[in-house]
Amino acid sequence: MLAEDQNQNKMTSERIASSFRDPAGFVFSREGQIYRQINFVGKECYESLIKSGFYDSLVKSGLLVAHEEVAVEPFDSNTSYKVIRPAQVPFTSYPWEWSFSQLRDAASATLQIQKTALEFGMSLKDCSAFNIQFVNAKPVFIDTLSFEPYREGEPWSAYRQFCQHFLAPLALMSRCDIRLQKLWLANIDGIPLDLASRLLPLRTWLNFSLLTHIHLHAGSQNYFADKAPSGQSQGKVSRNALLGIIDSLESGINAQNYKAKGTEWGNYYANTNYKDASAEHKKKLIEQFFDKIGSQELVWDLGANTGVYSHIAAQYSKRVIAFDIDPAAVEKNYLFCRDQKDCKILPLLLDITNPSPAIGWANEERRSLFSRGPADTVMALALIHHLAISNNLPLSLIASFMARICNYLIIEFVPKSDSQVQRLLASRPDIFPDYNESSFEEAFLTQFHLEASEAISESQRRLYLFKRLSM
């Protein structure tokens, strides 16, 4: 009977691919739910977290994901001490998809957690940016097993990781170029400090925090790289020293800034063919379409800009992911959402012509955009010309791509006569004879059923509501 149970268990449960580093436990999924198994190895740390009152304090302040202990079959009963069911994170996102302020807020939340941990005699044993997820546009720490009892005098084991995962990318984005965030994709354990030190401008040597935690830190790593540690003479880091280091890291984080001005779409709404009446009509049409399809669980707004239409979608859905390619637009959207109570929109950075890939061990550790979908509904407003004209994508490929990522599709067709398309064609020959409304409809009708379509008043554009054929 046990063997049968275990077989059944294996069939329905799956260990999460990224959860392999910590012997204290791991995360697995079963029937659409995420569980965390706490191993006997992690018993002491988990019990300290709960009994010290630290867990209650963190959950009360919203910094840690809440969980309940559940009596379900463990994934591996030989090693299991307990199984907990954390509050489910609605959508997993990664640091290379976050705006500047999302990464900075994640860093601040991590330091705040470490400071609180010390008050309760605990300490963070790692500082991975992947331990932070955004719930209601706020950073929440999701790894319940990242804590250990604090041992006075010991250096902080997560210090290097904090600098690589937070301080270095933030400094590079702030002091060099916002696009250097994409270095994450080539460095899954954060930006190597020697690389950050080499790329940062010389004037950052005058910033005490960056001098210490990036430049000297990189030098120290380099100098001691081939020297084995010895237990004979141990250096001590007192509690006050650790608090001082945390305080200095906090100053370093707060000193990094990014002003979201001069966005790619900055004056988009001012420069389009839209009159106020057109914009209003477009909003009404989107509302009508959502009325028609009913409330949705997950909406992806591709090319969301600063999220004007994402907010309409949010009224009709449980969760909206507002993707855009422009870091400034995502930043503005995030800053707005962060100030809302229980905001259902998560703004993320994404180039839809080159979506987030699966990376890490066995190409499974961090998931691709596709594997985090499909969405119930995708909105692609004023996006088609960027895909078809700027990226030379045939309409048939765009249609089949959309059919892979959604059930319902709200899409706007922007004709060649539109000034935005004319701008794209201004400096290149028009090699798109098939880019017109009828070809567009023909391409999409091979994948979708047309539910509704209407011309947007006082413009040459048309809005469509499609439903995927295989539904």
Binding site: R21, A66, P201
Partner: protein, 120 residues
């Protein structure tokens, strides 16, 4: 802008790497400390040693700063408590409760619900 990746051999100033080596050789030989690492996560020997080297300075700065803040708050007693919580405290608990409920369909938001009125 500086020219990255190019080091001029006849430069008047010593390069960054030489400065670093000198600084670390000095500090290392003056203190001569090497800590032992216990973590499952490799903290990097250099990262550990750097912490032990900067510990005294940062500890002292922190103590001075703490006292200074105490003095400051003594003079302006009306400062409100610094509430650093970044997330609404009910968010995660409420979410957990709502997910425990059996009928997930019932939690779907009303079609015409306005923003902010969607809880529960």
């Amino acid at each position: 802008m500086k020219h990255r990746g190019i080091e001029y051999s006849n430069s008047f100033f010593p390069t960054k790497s030489i400065c670093l080596k000198i600084a670390f050789l000095l500090i290392f030989f003056l203190t001569g400390v090497l800590p032992a690492a216990y973590s499952y996560l490799d903290p990097g020997t250099g990262s550990f040693i750097l912490q032990t080297l900067i510990a005294a300075l940062f500890g002292a700065l922190f103590v001075v700063k703490s006292y200074w803040q105490r003095i400051k708050s003594w003079f302006c007693r009306h400062n409100p408590e610094d509430n650093k919580s970044t997330v609404d405290s009910e968010v995660t608990n409420k979410q957990l409760k709502s997910e425990s409920s059996e009928d997930k369909g019932a939690e779907r938001f009303e079609k015409h619900a306005g923003r902010g009125s969607e809880s529960e």
